[in-house]
């Protein structure tokens, strides 16, 4: 069977996703048995010329958010060239941290005025950062900032090995949703649009115990040294585990810091921010209206907290937002 032709591309990001893929080095020996990496600018320095022949890419892993015209063209070009396009990492899947810039207009003192008119030209920065799904249809998602290696490996096995991986029924694959793990084990493609992560919320795999499901005071992250082993939300810390897709195993909550949602919203959640407001409202133990008001006043930066990684693609209020609309909002 011919090897799958694989591309890995990074748009606006920090190279953590590339390094996570590079870090699969123990599996790479097996991986290159069924895959030929034909395009990886970060590691191999491949130019776009290598994609100019008529041969299609079988699987493309696209990392990074879409922040420039060049990123957008790369997304369009790789979508056209690849049979299967994977949004790899929170930036590609949801816009990631760079998507936070959509909350305020550009600061001209910080960002140079990109120019196409003078030499050397610089790709024009878009006024609105988006994720890959905001530009082209995406076949699969591997969330996380960066994605964890077990999930990356499960994705590689599912999409690239084509049933040839001897270890496809691995532990990481077995922990995926049933439809995906069954597909991986059978050597067929998982359902289109699948996310290589869990279905439930982070709370389902968090090591911390829920006890009272009530809290009477909201704390900012620096104001409390939380009890070990007890749910952070119950202790009054804003933790987004209950609205976030599981798969990381609760990495952040395990070290005593709240989840901020880098795996995107859980399957059953429509909008992570709305879910969080609803959950906090129902968990807060307020006897009087004044107490509730005081508590509400302690909520700060809801958009920047509840949509930390997902503002560009998963905020229901901004659904369908375009660069043109963003320009109109900010008057630029």
């Amino acid at each position: 069977m011919p090897k799958r032709r694989v591309a890995i591309y990074s748009a606006t990001g920090c190279s953590a996703c590339d390094n996570s893929i590079l870090g699969l080095h123990y599996q790479v020996g097996a991986f290159t048995g069924w895959a030929e990496i034909v395009f990886w600018p970060y590691l191999r320095g491949d130019s776009w010329q290598v994609l100019e022949d008529d041969r299609q890419i079988d699987v493309c892993f696209f990392c990074g958010s879409i922040a420039t015209e060049e990123d957008r063209h790369a997304a369009l070009r790789l979508r056209a060239a690849a049979r299967v396009l994977v949004a790899c990492g929170a930036c590609a899947a949801f816009g990631g941290l760079p998507g936070l810039v959509n909350l305020i207009p550009a600061d001209p003192t910080e960002m140079s005025t990109s120019s196409q008119d003078t030499w050397p030209p610089l790709p024009r920065a878009k006024s609105r950062v988006s994720g890959l799904p905001g530009i082209v249809p995406v076949d699969y998602f591997v969330p996380g900032c960066p994605p964890t290696q077990p999930l990356l490996w499960a994705c590689f096995q599912a999409l690239v090995s084509g049933g040839e991986s001897q270890i496809r029924a691995s532990f990481s694959a077995a922990r995926l949703p049933e439809a995906i793990s069954t597909a991986v084990a059978a050597g067929v493609l998982p359902p289109h649009g699948s996310t290589f992560a869990g279905e439930k919320a982070v709370c389902a795999s968090c090591c911390r115990a829920k006890e009272e499901k009530k809290f009477s005071r909201l704390y900012r992250g620096h104001e409390l040294d939380p009890d070990a082993g007890r749910c952070l939300l119950e202790q009054g810390l804003i933790c987004q585990g209950l609205a976030t897709r599981e798969g990381c195993g609760g990495l952040c909550t395990a070290v005593g810091v709240p989840c901020r949602g880098c795996f995107g919203k859980a399957e059953a959640v429509y909008d992570a921010g709305a879910k969080m407001v609803s959950a906090i409202s129902s968990t807060f133990d307020a006897a009087e209206a004044g107490q509730a008001s005081e508590m509400a006043a302690r909520f700060v930066d809801l958009a920047g907290t509840f949509y930390r990684y997902t503002l560009a693609e998963q905020c229901a209020l901004l659904a369908g937002a375009s660069e043109e609309r963003n320009d109109a909002i900010h008057g630029s």
Partner: protein, 434 residues
Amino acid sequence: MQYTVLEPLRWQDRPARISVEEADGRLNAYYQITVPWQVSRMCLGRPVEEIPRILPILSPAHHIVSAMTLDRLFQVEPPPLAVNMRQALISTQYFVHHMRKLYFLFCSQIDPFREYHIRGNDSGKPFVSSRVLDAMMHGVALAEEAATILGGRPEHPVSVVPGGVGRFLKPPHYERLAEIAEQSLKRAMEAARAFHERFVNGSEISTGILELHLEPVASLALSRDMSHILVTDEAGNEKAPIPPESVFETVGLHFEPWTYQPFAYFLEKDWKGPEEGMERFFVVGSLARLNTGRPYDHSLAETERQLLLSTLGSPPHFSLIAAFWSLVTELIDSAESMKEQFTQEKLTGPAIRSVPVTMGERGFASMESPEGFIAHRYEVNDQGLVQSIQVLDAASENNAVRCAIARAVIEASRSGTVERDRTKAMIEVSLLPF
């Protein structure tokens, strides 16, 4: 007028390219970062305690310096255990960063993924054997595991919080960290041996790949006790030390319309681009730490540094071989630091965190990250929301040096008959240690 673009460049944290312009015998080479990194827009309006979870996108060390900035803002002293855990985390970051750079150097003439597949077949002519490359990446994986234990996640750590760290370690962690430290030192020494065999005792210096010398430039690094910034000029003379708190009054950032990466430069001299000379610029990172004469506390690293000095002479150094060699010495030092720090005694204590009870208006902190000197300054309103933020990162500080390197390699290539692909590869290797 002739224009050439060399892209994409390998191993750059952000996509980059070299644009070359030639006219009437005059050559300009531009090192361009082609994607924006709008730090202020990401951070303004955020609760300040969240900044350590946003800025690690610049590099993992920014997580720690951001939390240190909050220590000052909230006027808290982290307990000794937290300080030790932070230092241990920094050591893993040095190890991962430097080992990965050396790995890229060693496989710069091959396709590492193809090489893994055809292991045992020498057709790719790697600088070192696949076994050594495997060992190096095994070392990276182990150090990342240690970083996960100490920082929650390796690439974007989360566990350092204002006033301390987020959790205590447990007995299995101590055992595993000790194993990792032992293994990491072996991997570091193995990488050092490979470097010596191929680049110091071997033929690679004389055959060209590391022959390049940078245009002499000042070096800037934080003193070991972090009390002041050391600066040596291009001749190696010490200049007056700079109090870290005043670095933003000493160093400015300049934006050019052709790159998204600003240039850091000494404010005492007017802005002129790197094509006008390097007198207003400086270099940071392992080469700057070598040039500012920081001896190591650890014996193997200090022995390696002395060997470097006896082979290449006294600092300052501006050769590429010195830049890579300084990575090797610091790799060994980080592994020795891990051995010293990854003990139950160092990583045990009664408290992990001091909870702040007050909040100031502004905070500042700086540190030496693997990439070089970094500094943060935040101002907040009475709700603790970020009103202004200044970040000095190593990428901006080395931006002028990177431009100068690109120009030097292009000029060297132009005088001979070097192919375009070879020129691009030489630039990539030359940029690697900065």
